[in-house]
């Protein structure tokens, strides 16, 4: 099982990565066009819904929220691992992060953008969405800062913009590389502009290091707060099944979980589409897989804490709701959710599967399915079996319009991601260089102590 070669030429790294920006393979186009088609579906549904009203989604009283909110939480969650992992691992100097953090952060940014769309799509009067912004106006009407939804908006805005900055700052040296290697066309102009005249001087590097470190430090509490706030959309309400103390950590764990699963999926896709076997190596994959497994167990624990709270807490409404989930209309999905998210990951304990690409691909998809269902199972059953028995409703089923938009959102995400990978280096070149450099130094020290047979020629 081979890892990145320590003696790989730095120039080689540049050329390899820059190749991923050149003319795409057919596979790339296929993926891109499928994605765009999916987006088309969603846009169609949304236009229809916009004109007719949300009734076309087959909402009703009490089923006020549906797949939109469920998917919103899903995408927010998806966004987490990216930045969080990148930041945490950066602080811990885990060098295996370096080849993969770039696309992980891109994933964060784009899934956040997708999540934002769901908030808009969900609204009854999307054209009035700006009412939720704190803009000064003659009537002196301001949004209600007590509403968790508003905290959401604030947190997501902060998270999105910070993630983009983090991604961008970390990319500047690479953009300089691109600038130096592209000698014509709009790309050159783009890179020249974006690289801000970076020359890798000592002064730039010094401040760069400090800045990058600081933002990383900020991002960790931020990421945690974002999903706790999403959790408080539910936790702050009085409804059975939502009003649960363990929700914030539970949501954060779920977020990391689905994020890691998504990283595995994308890791595998990129590895093939852009031929990154050299950099996205098995040892790295193995590390992510183990991390994912660990988090899956944390999540499993927390979900059982939730059930336990509902069951042993003396609130008959919560108990009833739990029973309904397990036996009622939603039972199939609820059980599938528990299976996908708690049982499936057990496969990952077997060493031979930790590097078995096909298995991992399937598993990662199942995990994400499970996590999407989990979000749905948080939202829908509470509406079906709230406090008031007269308005219980077990017959409501999301219409094709809702499903269409959810379906399309995956296309939207893929589209953005694929376009990103063609314009920006999805593997961080300068950090891979650092990685191999430091590793080779380490080896050299060993050689110096003469314990190791002479091999490798120093820095390069």
């Amino acid at each position: 099982m081979k890892d990145i070669r320590e003696d790989i030429a730095w120039a080689q790294i540049n050329t390899d990565v820059l190749k991923s920006l050149e003319n795409p393979r057919r596979l790339y186009w296929v993926i891109l066009f499928v994605a765009i088609a999916m987006v088309g579906v969603a846009v169609g549904c949304e236009v229809y819904q916009y004109n007719m009203g949300l009734g076309v989604g087959n909402f009703d009283n009490p089923h006020m929220w549906g797949l939109y909110i469920a998917s919103f939480i899903f995408w927010i969650g998806m966004s987490h691992s990216g930045t969080l992992l990148s930041a945490i691992l950066h602080l811990m100097h885990a060098d295996w992060r370096k080849p993969i953090y770039r696309f992980a952060e891109a994933m964060t940014t784009f899934s956040l953008m997708t999540a934002g769309l769901f908030v808009a799509v969900h609204l009854g009067r999307i054209w009035q969405i700006y009412f939720a912004l704190p803009y000064p106006n003659m009537r002196q009407v301001w949004p209600n800062f007590q509403s968790p939804l508003l905290w959401d908006a604030m947190a997501i805005f902060t998270y999105l913009s910070s993630s983009i900055l983090f991604l961008y700052i970390g990319m500047i040296p690479d953009l300089a590389i691109c600038r130096d290697n592209m000698h014509s066309g709009w790309r050159r102009k783009l890179y020249t502009a974006l690289s801000l005249g970076w020359e890798g001087t000592d002064r730039q590097w010094r401040n760069f290091r400090m800045t990058y470190l600081t933002i990383a430090c900020f991002l960790i509490p931020l990421a945690v707060s974002v999903h706790s706030i999403v959790a408080s959309d539910f936790g702050m309400s009085q409804q059975p099944g939502w009003h649960i103390t363990s929700f914030p950590p539970y949501f954060v764990a779920g977020a990391l979980y689905s994020g890691c699963a998504a990283i595995i999926t994308l890791f595998i896709i990129l590895r093939y589409v852009f031929k990154f076997e050299e950099y996205m190596t098995m040892p790295i994959l193995k590390k992510i897989v183990r991390l994912t497994f660990a988090i899956s167990m944390v999540w499993t624990y927390l979900v059982w804490v939730e059930y336990a709270t509902a069951w042993f807490g003396h609130n008959p409404h919560d108990q009833h709701l739990l029973l309904e989930k397990a036996t009622g209309t939603y039972a199939p999905f609820w059980w599938m959710m528990n299976f996908c998210a708690s049982v499936v990951p057990l496969i990952l304990v077997f060493k031979r599967f930790q590097t078995n690409i096909p298995v991992l691909f399937a598993v990662s998809l199942l995990l994400n399915l499970g996590m999407w269902l989990e979000r749905w199972m948080i939202v829908a059953p509470t509406f079906a079996d709230g406090y008031y028995p007269w308005t219980w409703d077990h017959n409501q089923w999301p219409s094709l319009v809702q499903w269409g938009i959810v379906f399309g959102s995956f296309g939207w995400f893929t589209m953005l991601f694929m376009i990103f990978c063609k314009i920006f280096p999805s593997v961080s070149m300068y950090e891979v260089k650092e990685m191999v450099y430091h590793r080779s130094l380490a080896t050299k020290r060993l050689q110096a102590t003469g314990e190791l047979a002479a091999a490798g020629k120093g820095a390069h």
Partner: protein, 284 residues
């Protein structure tokens, strides 16, 4: 904005609703509904349709649970496993409880639903963006959302029918939340009259549409602050206190012999509607 107004407002509205030391003044609108008198005839509900421009959604949308009745009559059976319901049914007119600490108010992102100084839970249609968080958080599920654009839907208000629409009440378009307002158009009308005549609203001056129609006069509505009002007397006679979520009388050993109660009092939304329990003759 100035710092002084900031502090004035802060101290003025610092109290939590409901609050003993800072009561509503001069008005706190409330209801008492006698379930022993209520016969479940639906007159109140239809009257509400007439007064408040409620759309008739038709069979299909009703089947989808998109009905808009602000006032719904619920029919419950005794659950003692008898072959026949030989004690009859139990009827409950359910409408917005105009909670003092309304769960719906705090969660609205744009502040489209607020607490008015006279103790109502107001809904501002043209501020609402339709996030539906309020309804999600309502324990009684008495908020109704405009899933469709009813004014432009066939056979909701076709020509001529639209001439019946009450000019004092907005016709709601798609995408906004709505609910019982305690017939706020009537309340405001009376309050303004009273103000111009330099007096307070008299008890019985305001009748909500449901109360006015009710053939058994099961519904009474009035100002809870006014010690002379019927509602105030009823609440006091039943020892139900607005700002408690556990009534003293309920602690009495062997339970109370008073009928007054509020639904989901223990959730502490402090509803403004007191119901009087249904009574059944024990000798027959």
């Amino acid at each position: 904005m100035s710092i002084s107004t900031l502090f004035e407002n802060y101290s003025e509205f610092r109290h939590r609703h409901p609050d003993g030391d800072v009561p509503h003044n001069p008005y706190k609108w409330a209801m008492a509904i006698d379930l022993d008198a209520c016969s479940g005839c639906n007159a109140c509900s239809v009257a509400c349709y007439a007064e408040n421009n409620l759309p008739v959604v038709g069979r299909e949308k009703f089947a989808h649970g998109q009905v808009m009745h602000w006032m719904r009559i619920e029919r419950y059976w005794d659950q003692d496993g008898r072959e026949f319901p030989d004690r009859g049914a139990r009827y409950l007119p359910m409408l917005c409880q105009q909670c003092e600490a309304a769960p719906c108010e705090t969660v609205c992102p744009v502040g489209a639903t607020n607490h008015t100084p006279d103790g109502l839970n107001s809904q501002i249609y043209n501020r609402c963006i339709g996030s539906r968080y309020c309804s999600s958080n309502c324990p009684y599920k008495v908020r109704y959302f405009n899933w469709w654009d009813y004014p432009s839907t066939d056979n909701v208000w076709p020509a001529e029918m639209n001439m019946q629409l009450n000019p004092d009440v907005t016709v709601r378009g798609k995408g906004v939340m709505e609910k019982c307002t305690f017939c706020i158009q009537r309340i405001r009308g009376a309050e303004i009259d009273a103000k111009t005549q330099g007096r307070l609203v008299r008890d019985g001056e305001i009748q909500t549409a449901c109360m006015q129609a009710c053939p058994t006069s099961a519904i009474s509505f009035g100002n809870l602050v006014d010690p002379e009002s019927k509602v105030h007397k009823q609440w006091r006679a039943q020892q139900v206190e607005l700002d408690k979520h556990e009534q003293v009388k309920d602690e009495e050993p062997g339970g109370t012999d008073l009928r007054g109660y509020r639904i989901y009092e223990w959730l502490a939304p402090y509803p403004s509607i007191m119901y009087l329990e249904r009574v059944r003759e024990s000798e027959i």
